[in-house]
Amino acid sequence: MGITSADYERFWFPLDNAAKIYPAIISDEVPAVFRLTAVLKQPVKLKSFQKVVLLIEKRFPYYKVQLKEGFFWFYLEHLPGHIPIDVDKNILCKRFSKGEMLLRILVRENRISVEFSHILTDGSGGFELLKTILIEYSKACKADIPVEFPYMKPDSTMLEEEYEDAYNRYFNKEIPPVIRRSKAFHLPFPLNPIPRFKQSTFIISLKQIKQIASIQQVNITVYLISVYLYVLQEIFEDLPPSNKYKKNKRLRIQVPVDLRNIFPTKTMRNFSLFVMPEIDLRLGHYTFDEILKSVYHQMQLETDEKLINKIIARNVGGERKIYVRGIPLFLKSALLRMEFYSLGTSQYSGVISNMGKMKLPPETEVLIDYFIAVLPPPNKMLKTNCGVIGFGDKLVLSFGNITRSKEFENKFKSFLEKQGIHMDTEIKNEKHDLL
């Protein structure tokens, strides 16, 4: 049974397993906020757009929440009011303040962006909301959407499953947890002054990269992870010998996997895990082909359902222990923060998240040029990340960077160009930047 409007006042739910870490580590520079942008072919029709948001927000009550502090855990509580629509001032992924709704919609010229706190959902959940907005917007612009196209229609009934903690559903306590990994290499670049986060967008032809990846008999995700690792290897090898000696020699990339593709659920909250393909530079230099081969097999192995179960067992098992549950929140937050930096971020050198190719009804697709997925700003250890999203013939790479160096992006670009993949840099409107 869904939530009726009379229940809103009492509507609350605990954070899902993946979200529990975020309130402990959030700061102005690490806001745990991601952004999904749809770049339209025409400027946004404001009036229609505002009406659409008012229409669809009732369908997603589990997103109209604020973060509250309990005695043992944080929880999410219904927040009356509408989803805020603001001018996009190009301040990316700004932290949500106390008492604020954990998502915002930002509009400028022909861009519609939705920013979500990771406490609320992951990229797939977030995209479902954006998809509904775009389809309804195209309907407001007189498009005729086929009834059979699957999306979360504003007048459809919300299911309880949509706000379930799917990790809990698929947790099996009999499974042994995973073994801890060693520390990984981190980029040595100096940090930007605060605010550190900068983002750059590159657009490549989806057909072109697909063709080149298929020659190597891998998919685009494996190909891009391999490029990421190859570029990191180049940066490592360019380091002066004294510096190189001190650095960890394992290059490991964190790759989010949407668990909805493995375990059936309709959840709109976080339901993804990470696999971490790696290369060990203690074994010597890797050619690109060797990296491709290694990453391909690691991805095949690590996305196996049984291994994923093992990771869920570790993550959920920890929070279920009674002595963990009984620790007051302020102590738990301090412990989680320590664990995040010592066991989490230290284990990988970079993040790449490929959301895949977005599918919308053709009547909506004609309005859209491309999408951009901006990952949450990386922390001081990680320094860079890369969000990937495809639409039509455009694959958009969004690099997040908090350092003064653009070496990583430049090397990535020049490597792809050497492989015959042309990359266009998105030129931002100057006025847009100044605001």
Binding site: P14, V44, K47, F49, G70, F71, Y75, V87, E109
Partner: protein, 239 residues
């Protein structure tokens, strides 16, 4: 088609303002709305002011306050010089004016450094007290009465500011804290004056003030608690 010249979105044909950013629709798009010109200008000016950062707004306040204070200092000094051929009574306005200006400067430029600005403000006010004592014949009231009272007042105000910042709810509870702080300040004033005049600690009128302040604070606190939305215990203590 009408487009907002600020945020670039498409607006309704009859729109006067962009409902996203508040920007008035430009003249070329809005030829028939000349009568709105005056309103638009003031609105634009208002928007320009709103676009300023908090620091820029504080700087404007600082400049205006500086101009007023220095004009006051200059005028009183000139009148004093012309009438008496020397600086006599105007030294009070000059000293107080300068102390005020220095305190405003602290508020403007050390807004976020609470402890530092309070400390420096205390030092400036203490120096002001010393100078006033010197001007009035060096009777020595500053060390025994002025500085202790000043220090007490600064500590109480600083504590109140800290409590206000930490308070999760900002309603009648803050008024309750303010009454308590005021009552406590009265006790300190009464006690310090008694030590200064009688050489022993003795409380009189301030006890009545303190008891009244406690009663009023308790009443305000109770009303605040009654008004506060009671948090569901199940969600607060969920484990």
């Amino acid at each position: 088609m009408i487009y907002c010249k600020n945020c670039g979105v498409e607006l309704e044909e009859n729109a006067n303002f962009c409902s996203l950013c508040g920007e008035p629709v430009s003249d070329e798009n809005n030829a028939g709305l000349d009568y709105l010109t005056t309103g638009k200008t003031s609105k634009t000016a208002l928007i320009d002011f709103q676009k300023l950062t908090h620091l820029q707004k504080r700087k404007i306040f600082w400049e205006i306050a500086g101009m007023i204070l220095f004009s006051g200092i200059l005028i009183t000094a000139t009148i004093n010089l012309v009438s008496d051929h020397s600086i006599t009574w105007s030294k009070y306005t000059i000293t107080i004016g300068l102390a005020l200006f220095m305190n405003i400067t602290l508020i403007v430029f050390l807004y976020k450094k609470l402890f530092l600005s309070f400390f420096l403000s205390f030092v400036i006010s203490a120096i002001l007290f010393f100078l006033l004592d010197i001007y009035t014949g060096n009777t020595g009231w500053v060390t025994k009465l002025g500085i202790p009272l000043l220090l007490t007042a600064y500590i109480i105000v600083l504590s109140f500011v800290l409590v206000e910042k930490k308070a999760k709810q900002k309603g009648l509870n803050l008024l309750a804290y303010a009454f308590l702080a005021l009552g406590f300040l009265c006790v300190c004033i009464d006690g310090t004056i008694s030590i200064y005049t009688k050489n022993f600690f003795n409380l009189g009128w301030s006890l009545t003030v303190m008891v009244s302040a406690i009663i009023i604070s308790a009443l305000l606190w109770y009303v605040n608690q009654r008004l506060k939305k009671v948090t569901d215990l199940k969600r607060f203590f969920h484990i």
